[in-house]
Amino acid sequence: MSLDPATVRRIAKLARIRLTDDEVPRLEGELNAILGYVEQLSEVDVDGVQPLSGGAQMAMRLRDDAVTDGNYPDKILANAPDRIGNFFAVPKVVE
């Protein structure tokens, strides 16, 4: 499987990363090298193997469904690049 420039642009779009035109061929080469390297996994027999998703050898813990934190909007907004009152501000989304 080999990525073409159009696929590189599509992935960048999905990842929300703007690419310049000269970045595309470089990334195409690098991503194809990585995908070529991981290709060797296709030789492993994984029939009937349950996938391992986590590092923890235990069941996921549950906690009480209760509000235990909050009520400090100024702390939450202290790092906001732009704010209006107690809201994060972004460019207009709906015309």
Binding site: M1, A15, I34, E39, V44, V49, G55, A56, P81, V90
Partner: protein
């Protein structure tokens, strides 16, 4: 011996005996930081005022009879741990303005144990790298020098932590290890470092890279110092859903236990092509040392070892692409304005992330995308399960496993940088323990022909860091590694 050459254990004894004060110890280290950081670039942020205040508080507390486990010990904090009120960058431009309103659990525990934070240590951007050259705040220089005088990398991603400890700018440091980021820099700088079992240290407040692999751990100049630090860093935290609700053993006591009667596994698959002959020789020395100390050496097989890197380079980018989706220029971090919201996201992320981070986000996005998920991500998770099975089968026969830490000594800035895959090969011996979640430690064990340090790695069973410390302690006593880097505080250079 100056204060700067003391181990943490020795400094704690000197503090307890009132031979030195925490203020003196901190001032000596801050002076070292001031002298060496312009060259080594080990710290992104230096918190001198806060450190002096913490040292004064430690002296006052000790005078009042209260001296917790690390009272007055100056350490470096990898700049991946959120520290309340102190800028936390993760080595990235996108977090350049970020001042966390909260403290990570690990740094809070160290603070509560009386440790003094000298500053935030440099690292590869978002901990993605094996050389510390991907940091947006500049590369870190390894304090060790090679015979040709080339500037060497300290390893990565915890390269600033490693350089600071090796150069005597800090007595210990925190690191994080997703695929070798504590152990490989420890080996490259002649210090010790342990990645504990997944779940041992809380991940709360650590900037996430790959959540199923990330684990915090200590770096220090002796095995015992790592044990002291890990004891303070470990423990259950309800704010991390994968934190292990288990008691924290006495790691320090385990260091002196010895290896009499222990069974040590030697995995044949770790003899890889292109490994430096000196590493092969050092590995054999490690085997001989443990045998002489009373251990039984047993050949074991970890048949899926060679698939560790390809699994890692699917799983880690996949998790990273999800974790790093939060950096969108809206709630925190840097923003680049755009015509609309999508434009803002794309411009913010294009400007905020470096090349290696973009590469990994894109690989991760691709392997999780519709049509490719099964072929890449799901298959990688299945091979990951086989790697865990390999370890479980080996640990039915042995108590610990001995391997080299890295396939080479530290390389020069500019070497191994032809393509991403060549750089990734650095992690061939360290990645499998992250995938399986088992603890693993690097111990400085010798020098190569060019005078550079090499490390041996001890891998243990889940939650059996005590045996890892016991074996690492035995290796340390046998290796008698006393070499010091050319660039260090007090060396007069």
């Amino acid at each position: 011996m100056t204060m700067l050459d003391m181990s943490i254990a020795e400094a704690l004894a000197a503090l307890a005996a009132k031979k030195i004060s925490a203020v003196e110890l901190t001032d000596a280290h801050l002076t070292a930081v001031e002298a060496l950081n312009p060259r080594l670039n080990a710290f992104i942020t230096i918190t001198a005022d806060q450190a002096r205040a913490q040292a004064r508080a430690a002296d006052a507390a000790r005078a009042a009879g209260d001296a917790p486990a690390l009272s007055g010990i100056p350490i470096a904090m990898k700049d991946l741990f959120c520290t309340e009120g102190v800028r936390t960058t993760a080595g990235s431009n996108i977090l350049e303005p970020f001042i966390p309103p909260y403290e990570s659990t690990v740094s809070a525990r160290l603070k509560a144990a009386g440790a003094v934070m000298l500053g935030k240590a440099n690292l590869d951007e978002f901990a993605m790298g094996s050389s510390n050259i991907t940091s947006a705040y500049g590369a870190v220089e390894n304090p060790w020098q090679r015979d040709d005088g080339a500037k060497l990398v300290p390893g990565g991603s915890s390269g600033g932590s490693a350089a600071a400890v090796a150069a005597r700018m800090a007595m210990g440091a925190t690191g994080t290890d997703t695929g070798g980021s504590i152990r490989q820099p420890a080996a490259f700088t002649g210090i010790a470092g342990i990645k504990p079992t997944y779940g041992r240290c809380s991940r709360f407040g650590i900037v996430a890279f790959a959540s199923s692999l990330d684990q915090a751990g200590p770096m220090a100049r002796t095995v015992e110092d790592c044990a002291i630090l890990l004891g303070a860093m470990s423990g259950f935290d309800e704010r991390d859903s994968t934190s292990a609700d288990r008691p924290v053993p006495d790691f320090r006591a385990a260091c002196a236990r010895g290896v009499q009667g222990l069974r040590i596994g030697i995995p044949r698959e770790y003899r890889v092509d292109g490994m430096a002959p000196e590493i092969e020789t050092l590995w054999q020395s490690g085997i001989d040392w443990l045998k002489r100390a009373g251990a039984e050496i047993i050949d074991v097989s970890l048949p899926h070892t060679r698939y560790g890197l390809p699994v890692y380079y699917i799983v880690a980018p996949a998790e990273a692409s999800s974790n790093l989706a939060r950096y969108d220029g809206v709630r925190f971090g840097a923003r680049v304005d755009g015509a609309d919201l999508i434009d803002l996201y794309e411009r913010t992320r294009a400007a905020g992330f470096g090349a290696e981070v973009k590469r990994r986000i894109m690989i991760g996005t691709y392997v999780l995308s519709a049509g490719y998920y099964d072929a890449y991500y799901l298959r990688a998770q299945k091979v990951r399960a086989l790697m865990l099975r390999d370890f479980n089968q080996a640990f039915a026969k042995v108590d610990a496993i001995l391997t080299p830490t890295a396939p080479s000594a530290a390389f020069a800035i500019g070497e191994k940088m032809d393509d991403p895959v060549t750089m990734y090969l650095n992690d061939v011996f360290t990645v499998p323990s992250n995938l399986a979640g088992v603890p693993a430690m690097s111990v400085p064990a010798g020098l190569d022909a060019r005078g550079l340090p090499l490390g041996l790695q001890v891998i243990g069973r889940h939650f059996d860091e005590e045996t890892v410390f016991a074996v690492a302690g035995a290796l340390e006593r046998a290796a008698m590694f006393t070499a010091m880097p050319a660039v260090r505080a007090g060396a007069g250079s």
